[in-house]
Symmetry: D2
Subunit: 234 residues, 4 copies
């Protein structure tokens, strides 16, 4: 992932790649190179120390590393309090398409009688449904509760076990696994006489680069902590 980011930054006409840090490189070289933004795709064991150091140096940070608990986020906020001009963006998902799919799903949720999620992945995947499907289902469920939507209509009386998928907070989720698939998700909304479908197809991790570049461009304008890409998308 780190190398992909370097290539993407290097290819962007408005950005300069000034340093590339691997496991055994010293961070100081980033300061010498005049880095304004540090992109961290490392691991939960080292990311906190990287963040502390970068904030201290006045370098903005974009983080794709996982493992951020509420405690860790509070710690980052503490460091930022001492350097109010520094910006940090931490995002669990840099796929703009996936983030938009979830935003749109949350927004559409209250206007339809029914909504179900069908996710489709390669057969080597260990969990079903996918994390993205679970997260989408929860966003949709929350939006419907907030709007006071009634339960969805469903007259099913005779069901072969599992046919109607799994129930995530009242939203049915179906997980398809097949060779030839990569990572796909469909959110289907229905009301009398119409359906609205939002579908995301992800083929490889090059799809995360536009989100990383967006965060790099925005982090310098947003002091403090920003969580997720949502806010950066207008």
């Amino acid at each position: 992932m780190g190398l992909e980011v370097c290539k993407a930054v290097d290819a962007a006409p408005d950005l300069d790649l000034v340093a590339l840090l691997d496991h055994d490189d010293t961070r100081a070289s980033a300061v010498e190179a005049g880095a304004r933004v540090l992109v961290d795709f490392t691991n939960p064991g080292v990311v906190m120390e990287n963040l502390r150091w970068a904030i201290e140096q006045g370098i903005n940070v974009v983080v794709g590393t996982s493992g951020f608990t509420t405690e860790r986020l509070d710690e980052v906020r503490g460091w930022l309090a001492g350097r109010p001009e520094v910006g940090v963006v931490i995002a669990p998902n840099f796929g703009i398409g996936a983030v938009l799919m979830m935003q749109f799903a949350a927004r559409a949720a209250r206007y339809f009688d029914s909504v179900e999620i069908i996710e489709q992945h390669h057969p080597r995947k260990l969990d079903a449904p996918s994390g993205t499907a679970m997260h989408t289902a929860r966003l949709v469920a929350e939006a419907r509760r907030a709007a006071g939507c009634p339960p969805m209509p469903d007259a099913t009386e005779e069901e072969f076990a599992g046919a109607r998928g799994t129930d995530i907070e009242g939203v049915r989720v179906h997980a398809v696994r097949a060779s030839g698939l990569i990572a796909h998700q469909e959110v289907l909304f229905g009301a009398a006489g119409e359906t609205l479908t939002i579908r995301h197809d992800s083929l490889d991790r090059s799809s995360f680069m536009p989100g990383v570049l967006l965060a790099v461009r925005e982090v310098v304008k947003r002091p403090g902590l920003t969580l997720g890409l949502d806010e950066l998308l207008d």
Copy 2:
């Protein structure tokens, strides 16, 4: 359904509607009118008597009524033995699109590593999965067994109950229910680097009329008993 058939026959340039029989009409009028084909969309309680009578009169019959057991079919074969020039077509489904979907699915089944079925219906439907989905799954499973296909790949270890659908003879089937849907089915085949999807969308029962007309045209050329539309399609 009967009325729809009458309209469809009437509108077909190569067919003549010579009689329309309701509950209290006498069948004799069909003979007087010179009927060559009788179309029966009645109910299991009267269809056998209709068939016996029509075969006796030398009238070919197309039957969309349900409830045909092996015993009933044998009885019909017995009547036809005495009138070898008469043809009878009995079909559970006159939707040409649905019949083709099932044929294609059965044919493709052996060439792919994976196959799953996603059916989508209006939320007033009582059973899940649909009869068509169950039937398709069994055809696919049978074709795979016949070709000696290995089990499908699936590394799922952690599953929220029902996420992976129901298992019909080794084929996963997912049933979606939402307002705005009518009757839809997708059969998804996957192998390394590719997927093949066969999808049928049925909006109303006018979709059965081409199948009924096909049967009317073919039954006069096919003495004896024909089961299902499959044979009539080429």
Copy 3:
């Protein structure tokens, strides 16, 4: 349409149908019945007189009639200036699904390299592409211009005339016509490694009723003129 609206209002637990006006009914009966909202699905020849009268009577109005030019809208604004407590909602499209599709498309437009529109309709349709597809293309084109997006990539050198669809302000639009279709539209966005698809399927005009009811509920809270459903959706 008028009758459908009456049924929908009548079926809504929080709304009362107090009057139903046909061609030859007198509007005064609406006042006597205590109408708070008038829903107008008439024709361009009479809608202005209906609006003038209702505003004068202090009745809020929801309008689905077409033919509103800038001049007509200014005239309505003039009448409303004298009755600042009255609300009027005029919308060209009461399909919430279609309106959301267009909103989402406009919002996603700037984040992807490519976007194309495929609309699919029954073969009795006279124009191609559909008005909704044209409108969506223009919204998308406008959003991309505003964000400074470069032209979309397209290396096509050899094209059979028409294969690449029609060009609406730089957005390719494809119009499919086939029996069995009703009214469908897909907006396909693509960037490296991913696609995002927003699809709307409309089966009948019952799909407009939730939008009409939403407007009826909202118009009493929104004095002045509101154009389109967009603002009413959050």
Copy 4:
């Protein structure tokens, strides 16, 4: 392609890779290694000489090289006449999914009022529509002519140039180009009240390997010349 084939053969439990010939390798080593089947993915300049030699040696051949004219095919038939026990399979497309899509499309063509083709590819593609789409359109058109189908219904009166796609022998074909796409095709059939859609998604050339292996397994059972995968698929 050649290397991919070698890997695929090597990985197949019922096949042995006995030789791997590159540009400068001598074909004799294949004979020494006891090759029963030669797979040729070379170029039009050398394929004929390879074929002549292999047939002479009594080695069966599977050919994925392009450029076979009627004359070339006749020449191959001539060589085979002298070695009636040798089999040769020459196929323009080893993608089983694509071949099945075309077979199914040709078969369904006569039963529907309408059919249109939508192909979707990456934006670096030079031609529109794709060769596969053109070929599918011709197969469909031929099947409809053979069955005496009337022209498709289409009431379009006002068309923005190109909106209705290109006309290939009466079949409308639409070519979508967008980043994030690879190679996809949808054949949409419609009749009153229903549609049937056959869709193929191809992600990479690993999808050709099952077709190559099928041909390798079948060519030893089929003396003479076999053109295309169709016959090998039962």
